[in-house]
Amino acid sequence: MSIAAETLDTVQEVTGSGYKWGFETDIEMDMAPKGLTEDTIRLISARKEEPEWLLDWRLKAFAQWQTMIEPNWARVDHPPIDYQDLHYYAAPKKKDGPRSLDEVDPELLAMYEKLGIPLKERAILAGVVPDPDAEPERQIAVDAVFDSVSVATTFRATLEKSGVIFCPISEAVKTHPELVRKYLGTVVPAGDNFFACLNSAVFTDGSFVFIPKGVRCPMELSTYFRINARNTGQFERTLIVAEAGAHVSYLEGCTAPMRDENQLHAAVVELIAMDDAQIKYSTVQNWYPGDVNGVGGIYNFVTKRGICQGARSKISWTQVETGSAITWKYPSCVLVGEDSVGEFYSVAVTTNRQQADTGTKMIHIGRGSRSTIVSKGISAGRSNNTYRGLVRILGQAHGARNHTQCDSLLIGDQCGAHTVPYIESRNPTAKVEHEATTSKIAEDQLFYCRSRGLSQEDAVGLIVNGFCKEVLKELPMEFAVEAQKLLAVSLEGSVG
């Protein structure tokens, strides 16, 4: 089945109301007791059979975390989080490898189906011993993170042939310890901020990608994140390294089952691009946003940062954020290399009582480094949507260039749209431009669409899609269609 058709099917289901991804898989879990102590960290480390250095790294981060204070500068409002009232480790119970799909826990399979993972991949993901002769039909490799454990990674063989390493980070720690050790924490140090520090102490899994010199990754890499068990925080850690001249496009999709309690998600993503390397990181984030009254939903406190280490390297972040009760996320680029390029394209939609405080940081260090920021915020219902961004030009960044555009769209008179850009320049040859606008959907645009027979909702959908077009066109094709529909679904019922 083609991806587009599949997406359309997904969309059919989506257009029924409610949160389609609100299913909960009832399978046996191996869980750490609630609470966070050194013992919890030792337990996580032991379960993952980690080397001593990593345990030490975690413990050091934990010690530092205990001295840190939760940041409160973001424009978000939530009751205090009890970090001792969470499970820090949850894994599906391991059974001996099933021979065929029939032996696989049907609950798990049902979940994959809902996630839209094709049968063949489902088998691989569920740990069924694959037929070595089978050719991959679809050129997307998936690494599904089911709660804290990366269940399986597909198409590894194909990737390995080209030298690409794509596996759960817990596995990479064992199979490529020298790489993980070399790069882990170099972009986001353990003590970078409160949530990153917590992640460093307790991270359970995530993806590791390594693209060797000169290799163009033969397929899009994709990860699904889900939070399944109750009261678990998900702390995944992703590390992507592109050596000189390497290219990779990485897709991240997030969904979480419907819950009453708020769940914590504090991920860390680190990207490293050497000379002439390019990393494209796309996210569609659709965690459970809570209900109309703001009950439940995910707290999404994520640290994402990439370093353009090499000359002419490029890191591009694209995100479509429609989910989560609270989003706190600033995918950033540190532009060290000469003529390196950072990009940030974002659509953030908030409805009901969602709160999003998101944006980016572009730190220009290298000569001739360039960055582009395009942010589109849409607020509806009683939500608050904030763009918070930093453009910093350091003294040595001769000829650096930034262009920023943030537009906000308000739907309804009970929501808020906020823009908080920070612009700092220390180099006269650098050129920085920033524009921001806030407006509502124009009556004449609506009237035009309505008079051509579109319903109010379709008209709004159309206008919103137009508003976001600049960002959506940056998404890989697989995501673009889905993202468009997601926008429409997210705004359902918030119009008129």
């Binding site: 908080v420 850009p421 806030t438």
Partner: protein
């Protein structure tokens, strides 16, 4: 808070508090208000005075040099300020003169139009209702120690014409002094007034004025400020403006002087159709630091706010602009605009800018823009290709950039005064 933090800040805070304790009986006005302000100041100290505890509002401006200096009260002996008076713009306007924070009737003119009443804070002390010492800590300091200031009120429908408000600081044989004027300007319905406010001085001093402006329905207040303080001085001003239905507050601030300057403005548009213009320009050199911080609050429907701030930065100077537009839920049909432009003329200059929008109404038109860069190379090339020497070409382009900013000042006399000040700056600071 640890004891070490408190003690390392002790000099300045302690000095101001000690002055308050010593003189509180002599200070005019409501003693309770002063005592409250002293408590606030004691609790919060100087904002941004110490790294690590900096408030967001002081992110880019550290008051550490103020915290570390030790200020005394100005001497009461009548200072000779003929030299300073000679430096005032020659505009032939009636003037009100304050020297080291105290009103000098002998240097001031009277004979204002009927309906314009002039008094001083020392004579009729009133702290007003707009200042928020609990939020702005420099205002707490002012409230604690204010001794004098101007009080102007213009009656219903009266055109008060144009006047000059002068703040002079005299050199006091090496003593660093601090003074905290408390000004209040009130325009009744339909009144008009135009003010040129000039601050200049010699020596090391802290000029910490707080100004309250009330512009009633349909009134029009034009307020141009020329800050040309000594390069060794600190100028930290806070202004609150309350603008009623159909009224206009039109303000322009030109910052040329001071080692460290902050021009903080809180403007509230409280009635339908009110308008505020907060324009300004900063010309900085050496190691000067100047900060324009504005908060425009749209509290009523159909109001407009306009801000254009231009910065020309050379040497190792640092310019800061923080502008916030807040739009309340009821403030539909708001039209807010903000533009900040900076020209960096040297490799060591820095601009930090934070234009912020906080919007809770949906039918609004708000935008902001910011540009930072050097002089346009094509334009320079054009001029040089026509035989204009580099220095002259640069000067020409910078002047053009500034002229655009000064265009916001419509009163020709006042505009000429600003142009003259810029020219003087120019002669002393060849680029």
């Amino acid at each position: 808070m640890s004891a070490s933090v408190a003690s390392s800040r002790a000099p300045a805070t302690g000095g101001f508090l000690a002055r308050f304790e010593g003189f509180r009986a002599q200070l005019p006005g409501d003693p309770d208000r002063r005592a409250q302000a002293a408590d606030l100041f004691r609790a919060n100290g100087l904002p941004g005075g110490l790294p690590g505890r900096r408030a967001e509002a002081w992110k880019y401006t550290s008051l550490r040099p103020v915290a570390e200096a030790s200020f005394r009260e100005p001497l009461t002996a009548i200072a000779d300020c003929a030299g300073l008076l000679a430096r005032l713009p020659n505009v032939g306007l009636p003037r009100l003169v304050f020297v080291d924070g105290r009103y000098r009737g002998d240097l001031s003119a009277d004979g204002f139009p009927a309906g314009v009443s002039i008094s001083t804070f020392a004579r009729s002390p009133d702290f007003g209702a707009l200042a928020r010492p609990e939020r702005e800590n420099m205002v707490a300091l002012n409230t604690m120690l204010a001794e004098d200031g101007v009080r102007i009120s213009v009656a219903d429908g009266v055109d008060g014409g144009t006047l000059m408000l002068v703040n002079l600081a005299t050199e006091q044989s090496g003593r660093a002094t601090a003074f905290h004027p408390r000004h209040s300007i009130r325009l009744a319905s339909g009144a008009r007034l135009s003010i040129l406010e000039v601050s200049l001085g010699d020596g090391v001093y802290l000029h910490n004025p707080v100004t309250e402006l009330v512009v009633a329905a349909g009134a029009h207040l034009s307020h141009v400020r020329l800050q040309d303080e000594a390069r060794t001085a600190f100028h930290l001003s806070t202004l609150y403006a309350d603008i009623a239905e159909g009224a206009t507050y039109d303000s322009f601030a030109l910052n040329l002087g001071a080692r460290l300057a902050r021009t903080e403005i809180h403007a509230r548009l409280g009635g339908t159709g009110a308008t505020v213009h907060l324009n300004g320009a900063q010309l900085l050199t050496g190691s000067q630091h100047a900060d324009i911080t504005t908060v425009v609050r749209h509290d009523a429907p159909g109001c407009a706010s306009r801000q254009t701030i231009k910065n020309v930065l050379s040497g190792r100077s640092r310019g800061v602009f923080q502008g916030k537009i807040e739009v309340d839920r009821i403030a539909q049909k708001t039209d807010g605009y903000q533009m900040n432009q900076a020209l960096l003329l040297s490799p060591d200059a820095e601009i930090d800018c934070k234009p912020e929008l906080e919007i809770f109404a949906d039918d609004v038109k708000c935008s902001h823009g910011a540009t930072v860069g050097e002089l346009d190379r094509d334009q320079l090339f054009y001029l040089r290709a026509r035989g204009v020497p580099l220095a002259q070409a640069r000067a020409l382009l910078v002047r053009a950039f500034l002229t655009e900013a000064l265009d916001a000042v419509t009163d020709e006399t006042i505009r000429d005064a600003l142009e003259a000040a810029v020219s003087r700056w120019w002669e002393s600071e060849p680029l």
